[in-house]
Symmetry: C2
Subunit: 341 residues, 2 copies
Amino acid sequence: MRGVIMVGPGEVTVGDREDPTIVDPTDAVIRLAATCICGSDLWPYRGVEPVDHTAMGHEYVGVVEEVGSEVKTVAPGDFVVGSFVISCGECPICREGYPSKCVNFEFVSATIGTQAEKARIPYADGTLVKTPGRPDPDLIPSLLAASDVLGTGWFAADAARVGPGKTVAVVGDGAVGLMGVLAAERMGAERIIVMSRHPERQRLAREYGATDVVEERGDEGVAKIMELTGGLGAHSVIEAVGTQESFRQAIGACRPGGHIGFVGVAHDGVTLPMDQVFFAEVHLFGGPAPVRRYLPDLIDLIWKREIDPGKVFDLALPLERAAEGYAAMDERRATKVMLTL
Amino acid sequence: MRGVIMVGPGEVTVGDREDPTIVDPTDAVIRLAATCICGSDLWPYRGVEPVDHTAMGHEYVGVVEEVGSEVKTVAPGDFVVGSFVISCGECPICREGYPSKCVNFEFVSATIGTQAEKARIPYADGTLVKTPGRPDPDLIPSLLAASDVLGTGWFAADAARVGPGKTVAVVGDGAVGLMGVLAAERMGAERIIVMSRHPERQRLAREYGATDVVEERGDEGVAKIMELTGGLGAHSVIEAVGTQESFRQAIGACRPGGHIGFVGVAHDGVTLPMDQVFFAEVHLFGGPAPVRRYLPDLIDLIWKREIDPGKVFDLALPLERAAEGYAAMDERRATKVMLTL
């Protein structure tokens, strides 16, 4: 089969990879309908994370081709959406709602690579969710978004305890930040302040429910949010970047007793100054999103056309042209690139 | 009046200070019945924080002598317990339950100094809570504990979402850690693991409800807690130290999706690696405890003799002998020292 391979930093090719097959009785093999490029794929692309002829991709929707003997909830022919983390669905951690920390977890990006024609998905029952039927083609981007960015933005809003009457600040206007705006709107937030200086992303943020845009950054951005919140700070803050600076902004923008949901992948060297956190007295929660927990509800909302997260894809390319997609995201010409099959 | 003054690191005296008077109409002046020395008082004592002829103390119980014209809930003659943070009780942050981050907050330690015969308490209605009557003398230590260490340990357990059926790990066997054990027991924890290698503190921890003691520290201590929790970690972790090492232990001991309540005062330079926090996927919440919120319930439990936090005081000295109390705590000969008046 054909699949995206990152040879080294900045060097993306599409080449031949071995066809996946059922290995364990809990596996499924799916034929992808669409996949995409994640902001986190840019870390190795930019040389920040090691990469060497790596099979790329962790977001995916597609049709089940084959299942192992123990798979119960999906069958050949089903259209499925899967989480970017493999989870067994049965361990205590899965049952407590944290499948992304399943005791049997695997990152799809590390071991599978779904920027390809097919993928083997271990623990199919615990990882995949089937849609009510074959989706109309225009629903594919939204279902694909649920696989990671929507599920991640949703988790961030949930972790930040967004709810009716609350003011939410969103740090980061990438795909996940925009999905955080959408989630906050659905969860009933009264006011949604997005930090962005990118006109196109501001526009989409407003379409998804943002009520205010703050273009200032750093301490000035925090001061602006304090000004907008009567000097108290936001009740809920979504951190969707993962840098020292973005965490500083998130803590500074949150009111005492408020909640920060962080989903920007923090890299080595980013530290949290605990004296600042201590005296800020804010709740912090985040990490790899337990997308699988949210998938049934998210698929339902998409199926009923109540949300349209697929708009976050502003460029679609055939899989064979993946290299162009990486370059477009790296140069910020695209927010998120869908790869079609 | 007489009061404790820290002249410089390691140098504690009791000298004459000006008698407090009503300044603002929301003030009360109280005559102290008892006060005590806090673990945090050891920071300047050890030269870690600056100190220069500083009036010490922030924990207090006593009898109201005089109130300003706007004070409504306490009156001369009332016996009162107060929080170590002054709070107005009326701002949005107080109303949301975080009086220790009141927009009008003052740390009692910074501006008042209750290791003295009397103290002026601003925002008396928002800071003090009166007891149902004059307490029996044997209740005084427990009421005094409510002013800070009990309220702080209670907050830590609350922040760590302790509840029925849960396993709780307590990092730190000082007064606050021990109060965390007491709180966890009252909140219905199924299992309470305390990290301690101090026989006397282990004994009191068990008396307060600890079911397991882990003497190992660092990575070995974490490994032991993992072993005791089936490899998953504790649902709730109380961090009551405030050092780099104790935070590392707390994160390591907490299961994915679990909650860490941290109340050890984190000093400058204590930082958490965000990549570790991110991939641990644990809730973090802490800071200066909103003691005032808990005081009515804690006073009620003490009054009914359902809890006995006063046992945490293992040395009582007259105020005039405060210097001996500081030395005893510094040398770990005493866990917590009460000063009587």
